[in-house]
């Protein structure tokens, strides 16, 4: 499903990693873990070709990550970043921005699983907590119908109760391949496999 072979990345003359290889099966839930600065988030961005490795190759669904295939590959991937500044005031506006207005029911369902009422979709991001905003964004992104979900530090703004709800919600997603970057112990334990950097 996702196959990385001998990846090497150098940034500003410094080697971030070398000879990194891993394989992620379809439907697997995998966590990339390691100390800050080791390139966890960078690997997620490499899977979508927003960062290009100096050496090595990546295949997603048998397709080599290259300019010819990148559109097809990105069309299979959901990207959930941490703490992003959005040019919208609330969840409904975000759905409009992502062209997801027809997914309202699914988003509300996911919001409930994450412990929030549907009304949070209307609430101004400036008036709710960072954790609540993050859950609204996660619910909206998870409603996108794609096979692979990449999550960067999904637990970063959440309390333990919200993290447990997110773990439970993610475990219910069927036939989705999930790759996350995190060093949260509970989150790591909930995944099928850990890639340690």
């Amino acid at each position: 499903m996702i196959k990385a072979t001998n990846l090497e990345l150098n940034f500003s003359g410094k080697q971030i990693f070398k000879d990194l290889s891993f394989f992620i099966k379809k439907g697997e839930n995998v966590c990339i873990s390691g100390p800050s600065g080791k390139g966890k988030s960078t690997i997620l961005k490499m899977l979508m070709a927003y960062v290009i490795p100096n050496e090595g190759s990546i295949k997603v669904n048998q397709l080599l990550v290259n300019p010819e295939n990148i559109k097809t590959i990105r069309n299979k991937i959901i990207w959930i970043p941490q703490n992003i500044n959005l040019p919208v005031n609330n969840g409904l506006e975000l759905m409009e921005l992502l062209n997801l207005t027809n997914q309202r029911n699914r988003v509300e369902e996911l919001l409930h699983e994450l412990g929030l009422e549907s009304s949070f979709l209307n609430q101004d991001f400036a008036q709710i907590s960072g954790g609540q905003k993050q859950r609204v964004i996660i619910a909206i992104c998870l409603s996108i119908e794609k096979d692979i979900i990449l999550m960067d530090e999904p637990t970063s703004s959440l309390d333990e109760d919200a993290i447990n709800k997110l773990i439970s919600c993610v475990s219910k997603l069927k036939n989705k391949t999930i790759v996350s970057a995190s060093h949260h112990l509970g989150w790591m334990e909930s995944t099928d496999k850990i890639i340690e950097l």
């Binding site: 979508m48 990207w79 500044n85 992502l98 062209n99």
Partner: protein
Amino acid sequence: MNSTADISYWELASGLLLFIIPISLFYIYKIWIIKDVLIGLVRMLIQLSMVALYLEWIFELNNAWLNSLWVLVMIFVGVFTTIRRVSLNWRMFVLPLLVASITSVLIVDLFFLGWVLKLDYFFDARYFIPITGMVLGNALNHNIVGLSTYFKGLSEKSELYIFLLSNTGNKKLALNPFITDAIKQALNPMIAFMSVIGLISLPGMMTGQILGGSPPSTAIKYQIMIMIAIFVGCTINLFLSILFSNRFIFDAYSNLKANILKKK
């Protein structure tokens, strides 16, 4: 109507005495922009004197090729000024900005000179040069603000671009917030200006025409048309500058190239 009262060179020179007031204020309050102001003033005097001499000659000849060449020079100067002020990479942006400027000038001039004024001689220097100049002069300001907002937005908010491109799978949707921001920042001052025109400001063209002996009704009709031409010209120029530039600023992965802005 009487013709415009001329200003003698002595009177013009004495007008410069007014500059003593702002220069004194800058000096008293230690606002050290005096050198910049004086350089700007001297440049304005030299440039306008040269243009006056040149325009007198160009108006006399009134040759279509020469007039078009003059307009092309104005377009080039506008494009190079924009690139320098926004700190863009010359090689990447000269072509898209030139094509955008030429296209917007063509559309506005064809409409204004050909359709509205129905000039027998389309390239008549009396109309072709000042009207194109007004559109280009305004487009310069708006392009600097708009393109600066757009490219700095894309450079500084790359996370947002990645988020939108990945989750929508559509580059047009991913770029939309950046384009919206650029257009709003660039055009907001003009929208505000249009909404108070005649109330708290009497624009230069209208004032000039009235001073030149035209009846106010004619001056106002010209002013309305020129405001429309400026707004439409600036909007087309900025939109096309962004859309044409988009063909050059992304790599094969649709990632923003690292060298679009020059390092300061």
